[in-house]
């Protein structure tokens, strides 16, 4: 007795991808099923980068198929990832070389947006994605220091700049373009809009799956011009568990909803404190605030990070935790959050419902 392609599909329909919560068939991941006598081979193409779990997924699928198809001979499963581009609203110009744009925002300042943004970017890159970092904080850019990049971008033909690179990321920041004396920059409304647009569109991004945008805090001009001019897939909101930060995070979330930017989810930073002496973990700012806010706004709780001196030391010295200590718990934590974001973004990319309709002109 042998088996058919339909049997294989049927078997995979009963197996859930732990990352998406969907079975592999309805997730449209199963490709290229080949049956040769009793031997079976197939490809699994995940919509999110997941190099660190390819082996795990392969083993899981092979074991499942062996059990479901007792007559099978050899089973070969090849797992890869392919990130799909997001469908954007009409009227907003696409950015060349970029498939998905993810903004990292907060209401309150200093909650760890830049730290979270850079570690998420590095985690996505570690999973095999091509990732860029756009530092949209034109008032106080942090990414040059966090990525350990100094120097100026090379000018290319046609008024383009080459992004600077380190740790496998392509990066652009106002910090690369102006002298870093300590004077704060003063920008007026239209200049802000232009600066963001130029950093975004005059950088020659090279075939990015994700461009992470590190925003300044609050709900000002940058956030508004992002919503109006940038084909952004969605925003990740970073907050700390204190009431006051959560209050501002709510404001930020509402502002994005109002201007039609989708919320990917919420990351709670500095959730607990881990004592550097004894390792004891404590909810010094209160527990469960981020989760409560998510429940209130039907947003997804993407995960949380402890207040840990290593995060600060590593990130502020130009080698963020995900690359400084890739096997540690914190890096694993960032990778999990990044994977959740990637899965969400893949789902958003398949949702074409918010494309601006064609305007029909009638002689009636």
């Amino acid at each position: 007795m042998s088996f058919s392609e339909a049997d294989v599909q049927g078997a995979l329909k009963n197996l859930t991808d732990p990352n998406t919560g969907k079975d592999f068939v309805s997730g449209k991941s199963v490709k290229n099923i080949k049956i040769n006598g009793n031997d079976l081979s197939l490809d699994i193409m995940l919509g999110y980068p997941a190099r660190s779990v390819w082996d795990e997924i392969r083993a899981m699928i092979e074991a499942h198929l062996k059990a479901a198809l007792p007559d099978s001979g050899s089973i070969g499963v090849n797992v890869t990832s392919k990130v799909v581009p997001h469908a954007v609203q009409r009227g907003v110009k696409l950015v060349d070389g970029v498939k998905n744009i993810i903004a990292v925002a907060s209401g309150k300042g200093g909650v760890g947006k830049s730290t979270t943004a850079v570690n998420i970017a590095l985690a996505l890159a570690a999973e095999g994605a091509r990732v860029g970092m756009l530092d949209a904080d034109i008032y106080g850019p942090s990414q040059p220091a966090m990525l350990g990049i100094t120097g100026q971008p090379e000018m290319l033909d046609g008024n383009f700049m080459a992004p600077l690179t380190n740790h496998g990321l392509q990066a652009m920041s106002i910090g690369f373009l102006i002298a870093s004396d300590d004077t704060p920059m003063i920008w007026r409304g239209p200049m802000v809009t232009q600066a963001l647009d130029q950093l975004l569109r005059q950088t020659r991004w090279d075939n990015l799956d994700y461009l992470i945008v590190d925003l300044p805090p609050g709900t000002g001009d940058i956030q508004l011009s992002l919503a109006q001019q940038v084909p952004v897939t969605g925003a990740v909101i970073v907050t700390t568990p204190q009431d006051i930060a959560l209050m501002d995070a709510r404001k930020g979330l509402k502002m994005f909803e109002k201007v039609g930017v989708k919320i990917v989810g919420i990351v709670e930073n500095m959730s607990t404190h881990i004592c550097s002496k004894c390792g004891h973990e404590e909810h010094i700012f209160g527990a469960g605030g981020g989760e409560k806010m998510c429940a209130e706004y039907h947003a997804e709780f993407l995960g949380s990070l402890p207040l840990d001196i290593r995060i600060r030391e590593q990130t502020d010295s130009g080698k963020p935790t995900v690359v400084a200590d890739p096997d540690g718990n914190i890096a694993k934590n960032y990778r999990q959050i990044a994977r959740r974001i990637a899965v969400k973004v893949a789902e958003m990319a398949q949702n074409h419902s918010t494309v601006f309709p064609k305007v029909v002109v009638q002689n009636t």
Binding site: Q228, K258, V259, G260, S353, F356, V359, V360, T364
Partner: protein
């Protein structure tokens, strides 16, 4: 968030804009009504009592409609006015309260001794 538009029709003869949203609601609104209620600073002024009454727009036309981000559209009128951002929320509001808002407008016109007819 208000529903997202699924269909927009410009009836150029009758000067009516027809807009349907994914929450199932559909409105038909005269171009003139949309023009005189433009949310732009030019029309609204800066705060209540600052509004500038729009007159003589009976025959105004629409040249084009442009999406703005994910939350609004810009209507370009043939009298050159193009600075109003009509958010989905505002369009819902205009559609829902069309009768009252139009009546209010007509009363304001009369009170100001002005007319819907274009001058000359």
């Amino acid at each position: 968030m208000s529903g997202y538009p699924t269909e927009i029709k410009l009836h150029q003869q009758s000067r009516l804009l027809e807009i349907a949203f994914d929450d199932g609601i559909c409105y038909k609104m005269p171009y003139e009504y949309l023009r005189v209620h433009s949310p732009s600073a030019e029309v609204r002024g800066h705060g209540t009592g600052q509004e500038k009454l729009q007159t003589g727009k009976k025959n105004v036309g629409i040249v084009e409609i442009l999406p703005v981000g994910n939350y609004a559209m810009k209507i370009v009128f043939d009298d050159g006015h193009d600075s109003g951002l009509y958010t989905w929320e505002y369009l819902h509001e205009l559609g829902e309260h069309q009768a009252e808002l139009w009546q209010d407008y007509l009363e304001l016109l009369t009170a100001a001794g002005q007319s819907r007819e274009p001058s000359h």
